[in-house]
């Protein structure tokens, strides 16, 4: 997911109020919608994105950075993998790792990268791609089937 957890909850509640409740006349159904809003507000103060999923992404990233470190001429983060941390810290850590991968690409495209022998360059590019793929693969593994057809038509698929 690319949106923050609290903002999603706010958006869900706003949509239920303005788009659903405003068109719903049945008293029981309206009560149930308020029940859902109540639970969502509880999630907002007590829940967050899964740390386990983010830790898997960071671990894959860290393995790639460790393998890249002796091959490239840019400093790469070395902090050990946290055992657990709030989601905000893990998201910041993932972004830091991604910025490090971007810095390796920039280095490759500069003078130092141009001077590399083909084998080393290919090894670096393969490690970069492996790390970047791992992040999106983990994200896809943790994503439900999208319901775009249902969202377009308003009907169950």
């Amino acid at each position: 997911m690319n949106n923050s957890f609290p903002r999603l909850i706010d958006g869900l509640c706003a949509t239920l109020r303005t788009e659903v409740l405003s068109r719903l006349d049945d008293e029981f159904a309206r009560g149930q919608v308020f029940g859902v809003i109540n639970v969502l507000n509880t999630f907002k103060v007590r829940a967050d994105w899964s740390a386990g999923f983010l830790l898997q992404q960071i671990a894959a990233q860290q393995r790639a950075l460790d393998a890249l470190r002796p091959l490239v001429g840019v400093p790469l983060p070395t902090a050990p993998l946290p055992a657990a941390a709030p989601a905000a810290e893990l998201l910041a850590r993932r972004d830091e790792g991604n910025r490090a991968l971007q810095s390796v690409m920039q280095w490759l495209d500069g003078e130092a990268g141009a001077a590399l022998d083909a084998e080393r360059r290919a090894r670096i590019e393969a490690l970069l791609l492996q790390a970047m793929r791992a992040e999106v693969d983990l994200e896809l593994k943790h994503s439900p089937r999208p319901l775009f057809a249902e969202m377009s038509s308003g009907r169950e698929g």
Binding site: M1, R7, Q102
Partner: protein
């Protein structure tokens, strides 16, 4: 919607503006907003005894800030070209008039064929599918045959030519990605890097619709009545439209491009009608680019939602598809490199 205001206020402004344009006070009926799109807002405006379409580019829209100029230039330049499209009447980018950049045009009759369908949805009736497929292809060929030099849209040409068309377009989207991304996406950078180093030469510089796909045309009784949504129009390589139309997410679970055309029919008929030899390596290049553009659009949707500009839950759903697009982009690049 903040600068556009209520329907009543907008109706009043429309009346004032049209009176000034028409030299008399027209009768404006009850305006109706169509619940489609994430970007420009579309209204039906009854004016005297006819209906006009008003498109407004709100300052909180997905791709804001907007200009009506490109769409109007395209619509004016393509009159008589064989591309069915509404006639543009009045337009302005001055927000003091209606609260946002706008354009008035004819109302085209018909309904859209959507690309996203549930697995349980029956396919299009075969005769209808083939009729629409042929017209979908012929309209695109007519667009790419159109002589734009000497037309209003030539104002958008800048220095674009056959050699730099791909690079110019990639640079445009690179700037959009930098504007919209809320966190680093190294895979997007990797894609940009590959695209910049593998730019194909365009067979010719043509008008490129920019969002040519199922869902962006109207049809009535099997006849395409209008090609819509010209906001991404530009001058460039015609392969860009071929690739966008053929993206896997627009196949609706069928083997057909845009739920309509067999790939052989699509590329073969297009080449014949447009007089352009389709280079499949260029199509693959632009397919990879299209997937990056779609990822960028999803970045815009996620940002729009995060900033509270919309509570439409389709926005974060789109935002969740960035990884899917980037993954498919990599696969498309790799498939092309293996075949090359």
């Amino acid at each position: 919607m903040s600068t556009i205001g209520s329907d009543e206020a907008l109706t009043e402004r429309i009346g004032r503006y049209l009176a000034a344009q028409m030299g008399r006070a027209p009768r404006i009926g009850r305006i109706k907003r169509f619940p489609v799109g994430f970007s420009w807002l579309t209204f039906l405006v009854p004016v005297d005894d006819r209906e006009l379409i008003l498109r407004l580019g709100p300052d909180d829209g997905l791709f804001a800030p907007y200009s009506a100029g490109p769409q109007v230039m395209a619509m004016q330049s393509l009159q008589g070209s064989g591309v069915p499209l509404p006639r543009a009447f009045w337009h302005s980018d001055d927000p003091a008039i209606l609260g946002a950049p706008f354009l008035f045009s004819d109302k085209a009759e018909g309904e859209a064929v959507v690309p996203w369908v549930a697995p349980t949805e029956p396919p299009l009736e075969e005769g209808l599918r083939i009729r629409l497929a042929n017209q979908f292809i012929d309209c695109l060929a007519a667009l790419h045959r159109a002589d734009w030099r000497g037309q209003p849209i030539a104002a958008m040409a800048g220095d674009v030519d056959e050699d730099n068309a791909a690079l110019r377009s990639v640079q445009t989207w690179e700037a959009l990605i930098r504007r919209w991304q809320m966190r680093p996406y190294p895979l997007a950078d990797w894609g940009l890097r590959w695209l910049k180093s593998h730019c194909p030469r365009a067979p010719r510089v043509t008008i490129v619709h920019g969002d040519y796909r199922t869902g962006n045309f109207l049809q009535q009784d099997g006849a395409i009545t209008a090609i819509l949504d010209w906001e991404l129009v530009h001058l460039g390589d015609p392969h860009e439209d071929l690739a966008w139309a053929s993206m896997p997410m627009y196949k609706g679970g069928t083997p057909y491009i845009g739920r309509l055309a067999e790939p052989e029919r699509f590329y073969g008929r297009y080449a014949q009608q447009a007089g352009i030899t389709v280079d499949m390596a260029s199509v693959r290049y632009y397919q990879a680019f299209s997937l990056l553009k779609l990822a960028a659009t999803h970045m815009a949707a996620a940002r729009c939602f995060e900033e509270g500009r919309f509570n439409d839950l389709r926005m974060p759903a789109m935002g969740s598809q960035i990884a899917t697009c980037l993954r498919q982009m990599v696969k498309t690049i790799e498939a092309g490199e293996v075949k090359a």
